[in-house]
Every structure is written in C-alpha cells, then in structure tokens.
Point group: C2
Chain length 121, copies 2
DNA sequence: GATACCGGTTACTTCAACGGAACCAATGGC
DNA sequence: GCCATTGGTTCCGTTGAAGTAACCGGTATC
C-alpha cells in the first residue's frame, strides 16, 4: 500500500486560510485582538502596551481589522477626542487560533532559537 | 471595580509569538508543513500541489523551515537527483496551531469576506 | 544530436509592511 | 500668549517577501 501523494488539487486554488486577517507572528494585529479581549479600549490605551508601534502603523492595523469586521470604531464628539475600539463577535473568534499560536511559542520557541543558532553559526 | 488597562509591560519586549516560523495566512510555509504531515516528500512532490509556487520561492521556504529546525533535507547521490524533505518532531508541533487557523478559516472566512465587501463597496 | 528530468541558482523587478518625522484641530489650563 | 492632550494624517524611505525568466549539470532516452 503506497501512501497517496497530494496532487495538484490538494489545496483550494484560492487557499482559504491565506485570507486570515492577521498573521501569526505578524507584528501588531494579534496584539490588538488580545488587548481588546476584555472590553473596549481607546487609541492611546492600545498604543501604550504596544510600545514600539507608531500612530501611523496602529491606525493602519486598526483600519484593516475594522475593514475585515473584527473590530468596531466608535468616535465620541468630545474634546479632546475620544475613540473606542471593540472586538466584534467575529473578532472574538480570532482568540482561539491566536491562543494556539501563543501556546506554541511558549512551548517551542527555545527549540526554534536553538536550531536557528546552530544553523547560523 | 475598574478593569485593569494593560500597561507598557503587558507584552514581552521581544514578543515571543512574533517569532513563529510560519505565519498563518502566509503563503507557503504552512502548506509545506501540512503536506509533510504523513511522511517525507520530494521537492517536486511538494511543488505539484502548490501549483503557483516557483522553484525559487519553494527553495527559500524550505531553507527557512530547515534553518528553524522544522524540516530535514536529505539528498541522495543519484541521477536524476533525489531530495527528501521530512518534518522533525519540532516541525510536527506546528500542526496544532496551523489546524486551529485552518479551522478558523473554514468557519469564519465567509463572514470576513462579507464584512470586507461591505467596507469596500 | 536533441530532448526530458530533477533540484535547484541567479539576476531583476514588484509590492506591501513597517518605520521616522513633521504636522493638524479644537479645547482647557496656566 | 503658550503649551499639552487626543487621535490621528502626510510624506518619505527602508526592508523583505514574492514573482518572472533564464539557466545549470549529469544522465537517459529517442
């Protein structure tokens, strides 16, 4: 009995998981979702824990998540401005795969780094 | 009781999950791991199901996974050449987070695309 | 002699993500 | 009058991932 080798139809031509709105290991999208897990936050409340992010990149990240229906943006007509970002139900579904990846990193990152150090050096 | 807002130490400065060797939604790395799940495959056996990938990009993807200790490369001194790629134990640990992301896409991709169509349109 | 096969390599180009710095409006406080 | 605050925007540049096309050695087959 020979093991079947995947043929050219093994993957969906428009590979669905390629369309995931955030990438694991992506720099910022996953952080935003995790930060919003316990309720809405303001722009600066998101920005503070994500130390290295610039306003520009955080704005881009949030717009992208908003476009994909993962977060909502609510602006209040106050001065100074107040804007709140909140996870949608759809956005909340991202928590499971994100957690799976965080768990992976917690368990296996040392082994990865060791392999990489050996390869590089 | 006010909800605690994450401060600047919420994330590890060198955010560990940012170092995941493949990215979900990444174009090729995840496919390679999934294809190798049931045993070693040759270069062309990997390339065939990944229709759109070029030799160059597949080589780069495999080198990167090899560097991170996720796959091994075994070349046999034959003509024509034979090279087999195989998942390591470490590489096998990637199957869980990848599956979590494939499950996510299967369940939620339609909702994402709908949100995106509404936003764009 | 020409062609096909396998597992690539090399040079060049394109594109998106990311980053730095400057700037903004409206208001409140000193 | 001057500065600080909030939530951004704009311009510019860098980087890396990805794609295109051409080419390779060594053998076997036609």
């Amino acid at each position: 009995m020979t093991r079947p080798i995947p043929d050219e139809d093994f993957f969906d031509p428009a590979c669905p998981s390629s369309a995931m709105p955030i990438r694991v290991g992506e720099k910022w999208g996953g952080m935003v979702v995790v930060l919003l897990e316990n309720g809405p936050l303001r722009f600066t409340e998101l920005k503070r824990p994500m130390r290295a992010v610039t306003s520009k990149v955080l704005t881009e990240t949030l717009r992208s998540l908003e476009r994909d229906g993962m977060v909502t943006r609510t602006a209040y007509a106050e001065v100074p401005p107040r804007v709140e970002y909140e996870l949608t139900d759809l956005g909340r579904t991202l928590l499971a795969p994100i957690q799976a990846c965080r768990d992976w990193a917690a368990a296996n990152l040392p082994a990865l780094l060791e392999a990489r150090a050996g390869w590089d050096g």
